[in-house]
């Protein structure tokens, strides 16, 4: 039962992720991204990690994709003209396919125990204990990093000093 559900969520996630890459309209890409994140959240839930499933929906769908949609709406974009396949395009596609085949070969030939594993319940207490004892310094550095990012974004998106028209044509 759990394996079947997992398979369904996996295929759903991959289909939504390909929708992100393939759709022409960036708004459709953003909504496919939302669907893909919901599928991933289901996968996390099936692995027993309820905390990360919740974080996935709250942060990714609730904050990051909303930011994407907001910027897409703000810029009032026409659809960007994609290139016709040239040499560089083919090289990029070949690199992605090559990497995919390498990784999938590695996954398929590895000796992963092909049996149902014991799914642990969420170790939220263990996570928080580790986060505030052994990983306290990375945690604090991360909060400082977030502060720096806030200041940087304010500095970047200030409107006064940006010359209208930019560089000369």
């Amino acid at each position: 039962m759990r394996e079947t559900l997992f398979m369904v969520f996996s295929l759903f996630t991959i289909a939504a992720a390909s929708g992100v890459v393939l759709s022409r309209n960036p708004v459709y890409s953003a909504f496919s991204l939302i669907l893909s994140f919901f599928g991933l959240s289901g996968l996390y839930l099936l692995w027993g990690s309820t905390f990360m499933a919740m974080i996935q929906i709250l942060i990714y769908t609730g904050a990051i994709v909303v930011l994407f949609v907001f910027v897409v709406m703000l810029l009032n974009l026409q659809t960007v003209r994609e290139n016709s396949p040239n040499l560089l395009f083919l090289v990029g596609a070949a690199a992605a396919v090559w990497l995919f085949s390498l990784m999938i070969l590695r996954v398929l030939t590895r000796a992963i125990p092909n049996k149902a594993v014991e799914i642990p319940t969420d170790q939220l207490r263990a996570i928080s204990k580790l986060l505030f004892t052994r990983y306290l310094w990375p945690f604090e550095v991360l909060s400082l990093f977030l502060l720096v990012m806030i200041v940087a974004i304010f500095a970047i998106t200030r409107t006064q000093e940006i010359p209208q028209g930019g560089e000369k044509k």
Binding site: R2, E3, T4, F6, M7, S10, T13, I14, S18, V20, V21, P26, S29, L33, S36, L40, L43, L46, W47, G48, S49, M52, I55, Y60, A63, I64, L67, F68, V71, V72, L75, L77, V80, R81, E82, N83, G92, A93, A95, A96, V97, L99, F100, M103, I104, V107, I112, P113, N114, A116, I119, Q123, I127, L131, P138, L142, I153, T157, P163, G166
Partner: protein, 104 residues
């Protein structure tokens, strides 16, 4: 391999497929916003692998790493979209082919 492959196999497959799709979009798409979305896809592929390993071996360190990755991803998207906004203000487009000021 008997057919209902285990959840570990499926996790690895989804992770690899999502990473490859993200890489494909990152290399091929010309819309800067979609390129940022593809970076998100790649980060999420890594997150799935981390959570799978962490839950399978019952080690909470993986989840902590994922929390860090999510935070950095959020910051990265905010800065990236700020840069995209500025570029749009200066150039009037988000097509990556038009951003050639740093090209020699």
């Amino acid at each position: 391999m008997n057919f209902p492959l285990s959840m570990t196999y499926w996790s690895h497959f989804v992770s690899v497929a999502m990473f490859a799709l993200g890489l494909l979009g990152f290399l091929l798409r010309k819309n800067t916003i979609v390129v940022l979305m593809c970076i998100e896809l790649m980060l999420n592929a890594v997150n799935l692998l981390l959570i799978e390993t962490s839950m399978r071996t019952n080690t909470p360190e993986g989840i902590i790493l994922v929390v860090f990755v999510v935070t950095v991803a959020a910051a990265e998207v905010a800065v990236g979209l700020g840069i995209v906004l500025n570029l749009y203000r200066m150039k009037g487009t988000v097509n990556l082919d038009h951003f050639k000021s740093l090209q020699g």
